[in-house]
């Protein structure tokens, strides 16, 4: 266990920065790298925002419609005739 830990610590202290992709490594040097990263961010966020916006719109519409329906129910019950309707 101790040797495993020491191996892990040693590997961490001797490692050099490794980048997952060439674009991230060139950030700041190559303007295209920044543009690619910005594009990746935009294309990642856009569908989430759009779908989220759509869901929120439906949620709000449902809430407003339910509120209007309960209001109209309350109005109709208050204007009902107190006399029972004979069958």
């Amino acid at each position: 266990m101790f040797s495993l830990m020491s191996l892990l610590l040693k590997s961490m202290s001797t490692s050099v920065p490794a980048f997952a992709c060439a674009v991230c490594g060139n950030l700041g040097e190559d303007p295209a790298a920044g543009a690619i990263l910005a594009g990746t961010g935009l294309l990642s966020v856009a569908p989430i925002l759009t779908i989220g916006g759509g869901i929120y719109y439906v949620y709000r519409k449902t809430k407003v419609d339910r509120g209007a329906a309960s209001d109209s129910d309350a109005d109709s019950s208050s204007t009902e005739s107190p006399m029972p309707v004979s069958e």
Partner: protein
Amino acid sequence: MATMTGVARGLPERRPPVVPNAVIGTLVLVLTEVMYFCSLISSFNVIKAQLFGNWAPPGDVRLPIAATAFNTALLLASGVTMWLANRAYKVPSKRTLAQLLFGLTITLGACFVGFQGYEWVKLIKYGMTMQSGIFAATFFLIIGSHAAHVAAAVLVMAYLYIRMVRGKLSQGGMQAMQLFWLFVVAVWPVLYRLVYFS
């Protein structure tokens, strides 16, 4: 002969949809369009960054920024009239006003496409075509994509206007058209800023 309702037949009453089907369909369409324009914007930025310093129209051609600003104002105004038309269409006593505003929206949209086409003809006469460089190619692709959307929307609106006059246009249809038109209007200032001021 009168048809029996679901309640009369012992079936549960069918509730009207919270959001009309036409609006849901248009929401999905707008989602795909958002991704389409986002990918165009991303590719534009990457191509521009790779050219780094050589990003300009071919020759002495200058993009018509001022004329397009006027055109932008027309399109934004059409967004406002469309919104007002949809509001008026919800009130039965304001149907005439809704028709007037909807007709104005179609006219403004058609003017936008017309002015855009006129500017394009001038640019092509000055020698800026799809083949005259990467700047011109991306310009015509992005602005052309938007213009195609506006032109298609104007045609659909003209069809819906006829239905509105005949009293056959549903609220859902009007809302769906408003959704798509407002998307087309909202995306334009982004493209204008991106392409014309790059």
